[in-house]
């Protein structure tokens, strides 16, 4: 997936993935030490979403800043407020469609709306939000509806891959709910919540791993096997 030609992009991918690998586990660790891990579905744990929101925002600023340094001509942002509003509406739409999708997949229809909403908010935050931050509303809409292919842009490819891993994680999380272990975390939507976070995390870890391996493979060609094995894990093909 990644090419070694563009060192700068590679570096950005690695650093942003590394940041994710650090901040997400720390959030999860802190809340689990606070004993709040099993309340992730409630609206009371909204601050987690805020934290993730801020972290993603900071990451995108990092992307932008490096971008500006590299290509001096920064786009003149004509109506920033309009952009923000548009992306907000777009995010709401995405969240609503996640909400409907989750209910169709088997979440309770008439109750637990709060939990389902929180899960869809998390999914939106982890999947579409970074894309919007990076490319803007219109491009991400085009990407979503398949008008534009994400061809060679390494970062977009990485972001799409992260998004797919997140959704898969949430999907897999639902598997443990029916089991009769009677544990406190087998309640809707905790496994899906944690699954989504886990999927996002794994995807980022894989990114870091791959970049490291690729740069190591220059010295040790035997590692190319591992790289190709990792490339097989790519869902976004």
């Amino acid at each position: 997936m990644f090419s070694l030609n563009n060192q700068l992009e590679l570096r950005r991918v690695t650093i942003s993935s590394l940041i994710t690998c650090v901040y997400l586990p720390s959030i999860v660790t802190v809340i689990s030490y606070k004993g709040l891990l099993y309340s992730v579905g409630n609206a009371s744990s909204f601050y987690i979403l805020v934290l993730i929101f801020i972290a993603e925002l900071l990451k995108s600023f990092y992307f932008k800043s490096v971008n500006d340094l590299q290509s001096k001509k920064s786009k003149p942002s004509k109506n920033k407020a309009g952009d923000v509003l548009k992306s907000f509406v777009f995010l709401l739409c995405v969240m609503f469609s996640f909400f409907v999708g989750i209910i169709l997949f088997g979440a309770p229809v008439l109750d637990c709306h709060e939990e389902t909403l929180m899960l869809s908010a998390l999914l939106t935050l982890l999947t579409v939000f970074p894309l919007i931050l990076h490319t803007g509303v219109e491009t991400s809409m085009q990407l979503l509806f398949g008008v534009r292919q994400f061809g060679k842009d390494t970062i977009i490819e990485m972001l799409v891959n992260n998004a797919l891993f997140t959704v898969c994680g949430a999907w897999l999380g639902a598997v443990v709910i029916p089991l009769d272990w009677n544990t406190p975390w087998q309640v809707w939507p905790i496994p899906c919540h944690l699954g989504a976070i886990g999927g996002y995390l794994i995807s980022n870890v894989l990114n870091v791993l791959k970049v490291t391996l690729m740069s190591a493979a220059i010295k040790y060609p035997a590692l190319n096997l591992l790289v190709s094995a990792l490339n097989k894990l790519q869902i976004s093909k």
């Binding site: 169709l104 088997g106 089991l179 009677n182």
Partner: protein, 942 residues
């Protein structure tokens, strides 16, 4: 095109292989027993005169003693049973899963395990009053689950999983039992504890405090509740039999295993309890403390290992017991069947009719020779009556064997008159015990033991046919498929099978073989496997070529794994319980990936619509006991009468389906509309108190008549191919399903039809590689068949069913009148009930050819040979999906045959899955036959 029938013949052949293997598995696994509702009667001593005859209405005074009367009765071979003149009261304390070694006491153990030496009270009582106390090993028969054990303890019989009786669904015990015997004679029974008892034997209790027993993780609720009641009950005098069922030990075993401090705590509690009860017990009362089964080292039970079978029986009576010598030795092995006749003897009642137990003299009060003889003879008479009746009702046991046993029993009864002294009695008791043991063993052979050989053989046959047919569908290239079926492969195979059957029958005729059915199934299965193997070896080059070149899309691989996953999770009880949700989750995931693959707004809309349909059908899903929440709120119980809203929904959905579908199917639409109208009128007239049941039934019959007629008309040749007849066939199945589901569930049939329609549309717009024309590899890929099988399995749950015997609804059999008045009543009842249960797999099976034919780029445009090959490969794949699911069920039943929930979860699932498989196979054969019948004749173009 003569060879076109070969396709159908092959499908029938495959169905036969699968179903026969399932049948063979069932014979090995499902033990059946016929229940008889006979009741033992006895005459009281006052009702007979000195000649031993019924006194009738004469009130003459007797001039003989009680003893003489008894002697006289014993001397008369044909005399009726005589009630025992003495009786005591009984406390029956059932400590669930009290294994024998829990009750042992050995001071020399330094560091006792968590369950050792925890019941010292038993040991102390034995030391203090050896003649008042007995402690025996109490051997249970498999299945060692509580329900079956309670049945065994009260009836004295050997219950199997399926006790075939007149009323199959109800849990209520249909046979004669101790409780019935006591209450019939005017006695009173009090129940404390587990609600298994009150479900088995409802409404016979003087007072009952029954508690829900399914929370296996709750160690204390039931026990404390029983404790709060039992000591008060002990003070009262109004009961004859007091039953207290403690669950704590069993639940501690399930949750933690026997070797855990919690087990120590529960056993200590039991010890205190026993101490208290023994101190309080009045003089005329016998105390039996009984474990219904043991547990393995993990704390499970249900199987037949020694640890599970060895329970304990502790008996105490303040006035002392009879018996002597080796009979009263500590830890002697006695059978659980012996308790029912013994307890009824102690209560002064005759043994329950189905009992096959011995009288346990060591735990009965001391008696005179004549009284002991009376008990023994009563027992023998009851057993011989039972054998005569069982021989009349069932052919499970060879007639000569049964006749021999009956004669021996009668001989023993005759010999009783000659017994005068204690020494004679001792010999007589030993002879009777040997005889009864012998009889019980004969019955046990047919009732209790799994036939593991035929189970394994059936699994092997299933595996063989699934594997080779999978190779044929997935490996054999399409163009070769038509060649294979044009060749003599199928006729040869059928001839080989016919030869096999003929040979087996000849061998059976000359008495070389004993089990004809088994031999036929085994030999035909092996021969078919061999033929398929030869076919595959001959075409191995083509198969490897196709596998080498072929590379499937992601959604294809995913849907295959989704199907395998849906089969694999059948080994887990929690997924079986929640299978409805799981299947809809998997089906929707597969459809989501397909929609993603197409990537248009239309596909998205189709996916959302199917999701919405499945979500709506969720509200109709049933609820089973293990699901907990919904069960306790009472939504699981089926309501007999549909509500007004349900009626409106039923009428509306049927009318809508019929009205919309009618336009698309030409003149046949009128028939479907007529059938729908009849069905609607049937519900409307039968609804509420204002309706007229008789007219409603008449209309129901009218609907069936129209349906039958339309089904016959399906075979009128259609020039435009099989598409129209297949659609009509599905609609007819829809109306039939709606009819049997009744007004309350009729909308679910419409939902199923709608979801099938949406899936068909989604499948028809799947991207095919290259040419825009019909693409065999896309439209007939296994992903489509897997999706279809998942949907078909889901709609079993979507129509409000569950895989438990309690969820079988019997009302459909009677909706158009009582079929029992007809000569062919039973088959009609069976057909209607199974249509109600498995109508959805049947409908989806019949619709399988549509998967290939549907849409503008469907197979209807291509040549008949390709069309047939496409339809055939889809049909075979769909059947394979169901075969795989059945195989997984059978395998999990084999693996879990010792599991706690084997009889509650896994076996019912196996039964229902086999039913669904049979229905799906039948539907596929119907659909394939329709396609072959209507396929246009060969046009020679190009």
């Amino acid at each position: 095109m003569k060879e076109k029938w070969n396709f159908v013949l092959y499908l029938i052949w495959f169905s036969y292989l699968i179903l026969s293997a399932v049948l063979m598995f069932g014979h090995g696994f499902l033990l059946t027993r016929k229940t008889l509702n006979d009741v033992t009667e006895c005459l009281s001593l006052n009702d007979i005169n000195c000649e031993g005859r019924d006194r009738g209405n004469s009130t003459l005074k007797d001039f003989c003693t009680e003893d003489e009367k008894i002697r006289r009765i014993i001397a008369m071979p044909g005399a009726p049973l005589l009630c025992a003149p003495t009786k005591s009261r009984v406390i029956f304390l059932l400590v669930d899963a009290l294994r024998y070694d829990f009750t042992e006491y050995d001071q020399s153990i330094d560091k006792p395990l968590a369950y050792q030496n925890r019941l010292p009270i038993m040991h102390q009582t034995i030391e203090r009053w050896p003649d008042r106390t007995r402690l025996f090993r109490f051997m249970a028969d498999p299945p060692t689950t509580t329900l079956q054990r309670v049945k065994a303890l009260v009836t004295g019989s050997l219950p199997t999983f399926i006790d075939v009786s007149s009323n199959f669904a109800a849990m209520e015990l249909q046979e004669d039992n101790i409780i019935d015997q006591v209450t019939k004679g005017g006695g009173q029974v009090v129940l404390l504890g587990d609600d298994t008892w009150s479900r088995l034997i409802p409404t016979r209790w003087l007072r009952s405090h029954a508690l829900y027993s399914f929370h296996t993780w709750d160690l204390d609720t039931v026990d404390t509740e029983v404790d709060s009641k039992i000591y008060d009950e002990l003070q009262k005098k109004d009961w004859d039999l007091l039953i207290a069922h403690y669950l704590g030990v069993d639940h501690a075993g399930h949750r933690y295993g026997p070797n855990h401090p919690e087990m120590t705590r529960k056993l200590n509690e039991t010890n205190e309890r026993l101490k208290k009860v023994i101190n309080m017990i009045p003089d005329d009362v016998l105390l039996f403390v009984v474990g219904d089964h043991g547990m393995t080292e993990n704390g499970d039970h249900g199987g037949e290992s020694k640890a599970e079978r060895t329970a304990a029986l502790f008996a105490y009576s303040p006035s002392g017991f009879g018996g002597e010598g080796p009979d009263i030795a500590l830890g002697r092995e006695i059978q659980q069947t012996d308790l029912a006749p013994t307890m009824s003897g102690a209560l002064g009642k005759p043994p329950p009719a189905p009992s096959l137990g011995n009288l346990l003299l060591p735990v009965l009060p001391k008696m005179t020779v004549s009284h002991t003889l009376l008990h023994l003879v009563n027992n023998l008479k009851q057993i011989s009556q039972y054998m005569v009746r069982y021989g009349e009702e069932s052919q499970q046991i060879a007639l000569e064997k049964l006749a021999g046993l009956i004669n021996e029993t009668r001989d023993q009864i005759d010999k009783a008159a000659a017994v005068k002294t204690e020494d004679d009695l001792r010999i007589y008791v030993t002879n009777v015990r040997l005889l009864v043991d012998n009889i019980r063993n004969v019955f046990r052979e047919v009732w209790v033991e799994f036939d593991s050989l035929s189970m394994l053989r059936a699994l092997l046959l299933l595996l063989l046919s699934i594997f080779f047919n999978w190779l044929i569908t997935e490996g054999l290239p399409m163009e070769r498929l038509t060649l294979v079926f044009a060749s003599s492969f199928v006729p040869t195979g059928l001839i080989a099978i016919a030869l096999c059957i003929a040979m087996c029958y000849t061998a059976f005729y000359f008495k070389i073989l004993e089990d004809l059915e088994h031999a036929i199934i085994l030999s035909t299965g092996l021969v078919s496997g061999g033929m398929a193997c030869v076919l595959i070896i001959m075409h191995w080059d083509g198969i490897t070529q196709r596998w080498y070149e072929g590379r499937s899309v992601f959604y294809e691989r995913f849907s295959r794994s989704a199907l395998v996953a849906s089969a694999a999770v059948l080994t887990s009880n929690s997924y079986i319980i929640e299978e409805g949700a799981g299947l809809s989750f998997l089906a929707l995931s597969v459809m989501a990936l397909m929609a993603w693959n197409v990537g248009t707004l239309k596909s998205l809309a189709l996916w959302v619509a199917s999701g919405a349909v499945l979500a709506v059908s969720r509200s109709y899903r049933g609820c089973r006991e293990e699901q907990g929440d919904c069960w306790t709120t009472g939504s699981g119980t089926a309501t007999g009468q549909a509500s007004r809203a349900a009626l409106v929904m039923a009428l509306g959905s049927t009318a809508a389906v019929v009205a919309i579908a009618r336009r698309a199917i030409g003149w046949r639409g009128h028939g479907v509309v007529l059938a729908g109208l009849f069905a609607c009128a049937h519900w409307a007239l039968g609804w509420g108190s204002l309706g007229s049941p008789s007219r409603s039934r008449l209309l129901g019959r009218g609907a069936w008549l129209v349906l039958g007629l339309m089904f016959v008309l399906l075979w009128k040749k259609e020039i435009h191919g099989a598409f129209l007849p297949l659609t009509v066939c599905c609609l007819l199945f829809y109306v039939a399903n709606a009819l049997v589901l009744g007004a309350a569930y009729a909308p679910t049939a419409a939902l199923a039809l709608l979801s099938g329609f949406l899936a068909l549309n989604l499948v028809s717009i799947l991207k095919s590689e290259g040419a825009s024309k019909f693409s065999l590899s896309t439209r007939c890929s296994s992903s489509v068949a897997c999706l279809w099988a998942l949907l078909a399995s889901y709609h079993f749950y979507g129509t409000g069913h569950h895989a438990t015997l309690g969820h079988v609804r019997w009302a459909p059999a009677f909706h158009a009148g009582d079929p029992n008045y007809l000569a062919i009543g039973p088959p009609i009842t069976a057909a209607l009930v199974s249509l109600e249960l498995f109508g959805m797999p049947l409908m989806f099976g019949a619709a399988v050819p549509l998967l290939a034919l549907w849409g503008r780029n469907g197979a209807s445009n291509v040549g008949p040979r390709t069309q047939l090959a496409a339809v055939f490969s889809l049909c075979l794949k769909f059947s394979l999906c169901f075969a795989i699911r059945v195989f997984a069920c059978a395998l999990s039943a084999t693996i879990h045959c010792r599991h706690l929930m084997i009889w509650g979860v896994f076996t019912p699932k196996l039964l229902f899955e086999s039913g669904a498989c049979a229905a799906a196979l039948l539907g596929t054969v119907i659909g394939a036959t329709l396609t072959v019948w209507h396929v246009p004749t060969q046009q020679r173009n190009s």
